[in-house]
């Protein structure tokens, strides 16, 4: 029973949702919409489970003063602090003068943006290391990257001889080979989605339903 119920449910819900596309009738959509909303709510609830897990893993570390326990404490305190000011702020939490808004503007935003900005540095080192003309494939990769990089800056247009044609050629690469490759990946992903979707719905794929 433990494995039968989820499998039967998977089959019924899956088939029902596939029908969403093929059956336009409003009486049908009335119910698919309800199911989708339940999905939304469930996804949200899982978040609380994650929160529970996090505390479960980190609190003992702090209690037993394991390695880096001070940092874990900082994390838990920031977490609780954010929750407290967030719930206290309620619907006004994002108005000026709210502690929650302050945390967002001056802690969350710079941290998030700076983590992202590290990429400017990493992309330089990755390009330096990886873009060597070792074989034909690597050379194509390298040449395409350089052409696009030069063409994307205004200076590229000022180059003698090729400058004029460079942006057009870049657009060609982006519009023709790039689109061919991307469409192939899109189509491949769609095929993967169909096969995997059917495997899930037909109960062949059960990895997400655990052991026994």
């Amino acid at each position: 029973m433990r494995s039968t119920i989820p499998l039967v449910l998977t089959f019924l819900v899956g088939i029902f949702m596939v029908g969403e596309y093929f059956i336009p009738h409003w009486r049908y959509h009335q119910w698919t919409a309800v199911l989708l909303e339940w999905g939304l709510i469930l996804a949200a609830a899982a978040f609380l489970l994650g929160l529970f897990n996090l505390v479960q893993v980190n609190l003992p570390k702090v209690m037993n003063k394991e390695e880096d326990w001070g940092y874990k404490l900082v994390m838990l305190v920031s977490l609780v602090g954010t929750l407290v000011v967030g719930f206290m702020g309620n619907t006004d939490r994002l108005s000026d003068g709210q502690a929650y808004k302050w945390l967002f503007d001056f802690v969350f935003v710079p941290l998030n943006a700076t983590m992202f900005a590290l990429l400017a540095f990493y992309i330089a080192s990755a390009a330096f290391r990886a873009f060597r003309a070792r074989n034909l494939e690597a050379t194509v990769l390298l040449v395409a990257a350089i052409i696009v990089m030069i063409a994307r800056v205004p200076m590229g247009e000022d180059l003698p001889l090729i400058g004029e044609k460079l942006p057009q050629f870049m657009n060609w690469i982006m519009d023709v080979p790039n689109i061919a490759a991307r469409r192939a990946i899109f189509i491949g992903a769609a095929l993967g989605a169909v096969a995997t979707g059917l495997r899930v719905i037909l109960g062949i794929e059960r990895s997400h339903l655990g052991a026994d």
Partner: protein, 400 residues
Amino acid sequence: MKQLLSWMALLALLVALPASAATVTVEVPPDNDGLNLNVVWDEATDPLGWAVLRADGASGEDWTVLKMLPGNARKLSDKVTTNVWEHPPQDTYRYQVVAMRSLVLVDEMEEADRTAAVLAAGTASAIATGSPSAAWIRTGIGAKQYGPLVMLLIILAVGVMMWKFANDVRAGKPVFIRRIPGIDAIEEGIGRATEMGQPILYVPGIDELQDIQTIASMLILGQVAEKVAEYQADIIVSCCIPMVREVADEVVKAGFYQAGFPDAYNPRNTRFISSEQFAFCAGTNGIIYREKPATNIYLGRFFAESLILAETGFVNKSIQIAGTAEATQLPFFIAACDYTLIGEELFAVGAYMSRDPRLVSSLKASDWVKLFVVISLLLGTVLTTLGFPIVNNLFAISGG
């Protein structure tokens, strides 16, 4: 301000030209859900604006103003109800269209006063009646765009082929699957980590469990965990989505169980880091730097964090294997990782590693659809060039 507007409205009333009544027809869109009616009308000259009015029921006189439209509009696609629970659609609706002679600011009026105000400031058309009609199946035949039908056939064909090929395998017919170097690298990486006495880091992307790539990644994780347990190594799973962590927990537990070492599994190593992309990235960087995994496996749907993770792993001298169908991130994985599985290869890993006949059969089934797509592309090009866009119609999908 408000006073100024009403003065302007009065002024408009004085200078506006008299507009004639329009002829209105109500159409039911093809393959419709039964909640939409297209109101179409005809008029040679543009008035100042249009107001579309509707009364519910065959003889209802309770007119409401649906929408004010600019003078060049000739069509309104009306959704007759938004709350089917409390107001299910009626059998019949009556419409009239008012050519506005002057400006009426209906937004500022009470609901009840609007109809009268609109009718007073314009010329109303004759009343047109329409009945919504709901289709039970979407085929696209009406619009001669057979996409939905072909989609249904593809889904059914894949299902039937999966069943047939799985039977073939069970009957002892071998299925060939081409070797993919990235997958061998996963096994080598596990061996290397065991030799070095360091853990393996597995990142199943940062998307929800429901994403097809995440599901594929979970299946692979099961295989990886089994190998890890056999080698008696450690595996850390770093998750961005709580639901994914729960499933990963189950999957890894099952993998250790399958390998015969159920007690070796440490649930503390399957971690929820943060659902925020870059916080997750910072936390996973921390794991790479501080717990020094020998092998990093990134399989699933990744976004901008891909390069940060892969570069940090490079500095840590880990063997790195990545795989994603997210086209934007593939260049970075290719630049920074030792092996990269591109697009569909990700979906093949599970079948390849598992050797489960049912999974292998689904790979073969998609290959047949792929062949169908390639042939359609080539044949379609020839036929379209010759002036027969038959294949295009097979793949075309009209707006529903």
